[in-house]
């Protein structure tokens, strides 16, 4: 039974990494938001499973917050924003899908090596889950770095947060107050980004960041 429990935890963490790769692969905005909703849903399942096996009821609240906010509210709101901003296009990428996935692979390999070396002596299964969580964080950063579109970068930021939550719940003991503060910070960040997106769109008629570069302070 113990083997199966931890296997399921591994499965869910691995599925989160897989969905991060799937996010890197998307080239349409609506599809990206749907995949992000799946990402948050898998995080919910993972946190709920951790709540079950650690017998930590406050993690159920974490799971519920992840489900309501990140899997439902934020994707729907971003969907609305996209419709209002009128961006229905494909996502412009800095590097191609193939190169991005290769770099993603290298990042996963790096995080496996780092985590498995740094945490020598800890419980093997917790170490591997931490390695997966670090992979999700790095893949989220990679998404932020390789997308020209601001909405794509927001999604990258959100999935990075998901990776952090996975890491925190994997290691035992994540007090509820931390989770509430994390959830509120997400909300604030989202509101700020949303407001800025509207302002940018109103002023410059575009949210393509390269176009915005022209209006920075000093010329390079």
């Amino acid at each position: 039974m113990t083997g199966l429990t931890f296997d399921i935890a591994h499965m869910l963490a691995g599925t989160l990494v897989l969905v991060s790769f799937l996010q890197l692969y998307q080239d349409r905005l609506y599809a990206l938001l749907n995949v992000f909703a799946v990402h948050a849903f898998v995080l919910t399942l993972s946190v709920a499973w951790q709540a079950y096996i650690q017998s930590a009821p406050h993690l159920y609240v974490t799971a519920a917050i992840a489900l309501v906010f990140k899997a439902i509210i934020i994707p729907v709101a971003l969907h609305r924003i996209i419709v209002r901003l009128g961006i229905h296009r494909e996502i412009e990428k800095v590097v191609g899908v193939g190169t991005a996935m290769l770099i993603g692979m290298a990042l996963v390999a790096l995080s496996m090596v780092v985590m498995l070396r740094v945490t020598e002596g800890a419980d093997l299964l917790a170490r591997e889950d931490l390695a997966f969580a670090l992979s999700v964080v790095l893949l989220g950063l990679l998404m932020m770095v390789t997308r020209r579109n601001a909405v794509g970068q927001v999604v990258g930021f959100m999935s990075l947060e998901n990776g952090l939550v996975l890491a925190a719940t994997g290691a035992k003991g994540m007090p509820l107050v931390v989770e509430i503060s994390v959830a509120f910070s997400i909300l604030i960040a989202f509101i700020v980004i949303g407001i800025f997106l509207f302002r940018i769109r109103e002023r410059f008629d575009t949210v393509d960041l390269q176009a915005l570069d022209r209006f920075r302070g000093e010329r390079r």
Binding site: G3, F6, G14, Y25, V97, G98, M105, A109, M112, L124
Partner: protein
């Protein structure tokens, strides 16, 4: 006595795959038709097509060479031998030690090599389109398949299919992340290798969308029948492979009696039916990709396979 039973089982497997292959194709077509609110052709229509084609005269292009005439038999033989070595209703096939999973993939690869040559033989541009696109798809699908084999071999400790199936049935492996990744990669590779939507449309003859159909455009009569049968066998092989490796329950072990073999056959038929229905649902719910989106799709499968292998290298519990 045991040797004779083993021989009989191997022979039965060879006949079974040959007879069931067109039925699987017919099932997929029927389910797709029903999902599109059509009646669709009867389930046994592929058998009728094969018989009809076999009886027809071959119309051969004037400048087709001897290679063109031999290739359908080569392709069929290679695919049939490969399909006979994948365990369907019983593990421990008599000749499983002669060709492991790498050899089976290489046999399928050689069938594809000869088919690509056939596309170039008559010297038309359609054949060239088919062959060049086919080798592009193969150049990514085959490494992905090899990575999947690596993952499975590292989990099971052997590249022999019968050994892999026995170990996966016994349940000592459990759930593994790399198995999940390998399953998704194998499904993607199977779709690409069998020329199914979203990689290629098996029912089209439009130049922009053909890959497999373009290579065999010049074939007719009994040659075309053999190539169609080989394609159906390949689909059956991949569905059997997925069933044998990822849903191995119900397969008889070597040395058990007739009752276990019967259960094995019934569960195998069930797996084929489920696989066919799932394939039909998937093909109906997704559109065909642009040709140059396919390498990205297969590249994703290669990455997943590589990730699964890497996880096995790095840790025994992943």
């Amino acid at each position: 006595m045991a040797l004779i039973l083993d021989l009989a089982v191997q022979g039965a497997q060879m006949l079974l795959v040959l007879l069931l292959a067109p039925l699987l194709t017919g099932l997929v077509r029927k389910v797709k038709a029903h999902l599109l609110r059509r009646q669709g052709p009867p389930l046994i229509q592929p058998y009728r097509d094969l018989v009809r084609l076999l009886r027809k005269e071959v119309v051969l292009a004037e400048n087709a060479s001897w290679l063109f005439r031999v290739i359908p038999y080569l392709v069929f033989a290679a695919t049939w031998v490969a399909a006979s070595l994948v365990p369907t209703f019983r593990t421990g096939l008599l000749f499983s030690w002669s060709a492991d999973l790498i050899a089976i993939i290489a046999l399928l690869g050689s069938a594809r090599f000869y088919l690509a040559l056939a596309g170039l033989d008559v010297g038309t541009s359609f054949g060239g389109i088919g062959s060049s696109r086919e080798v592009m798809i193969a150049s990514l699908a085959e490494p992905a398949m090899v990575m999947i084999v690596f993952t499975l071999a590292l989990i099971a400790g052997s590249t022999q299919l019968s050994t892999m199936a026995s170990i996966l049935i016994s349940g000592e492996v459990g759930l593994r992340v790399s198995l999940g990744l390998a399953l998704i990669a194998l499904i993607i590779v199977a779709i690409a290798e069998n020329a199914r939507i979203p990689v290629d449309n098996p029912a089209t003859h439009l130049e922009l969308t053909m890959v497999h159909e373009a290579m065999v455009l010049e074939y007719s009569g009994r040659h075309l029948a053999l190539i169609d049968l080989a394609a159906s066998l390949k689909l059956l092989l991949y569905v059997s492979l997925i069933g044998c490796l990822f849903a191995p329950w119900g397969m008889a072990a070597p040395g058990t009696g007739i009752a276990a073999l019967g259960i094995g056959v019934i569960s195998y038929l069930g797996k084929l039916a489920v696989g066919g229905i799932l394939l039909a649902v998937f093909e109906t719910s997704i559109a065909k990709m642009r040709v140059f989106r396919v390498p990205e799709f297969l590249g994703a499968a290669l990455m997943l396979g590589l990730l699964a292998t890497l996880l096995r290298f790095v840790s025994g519990s992943l």
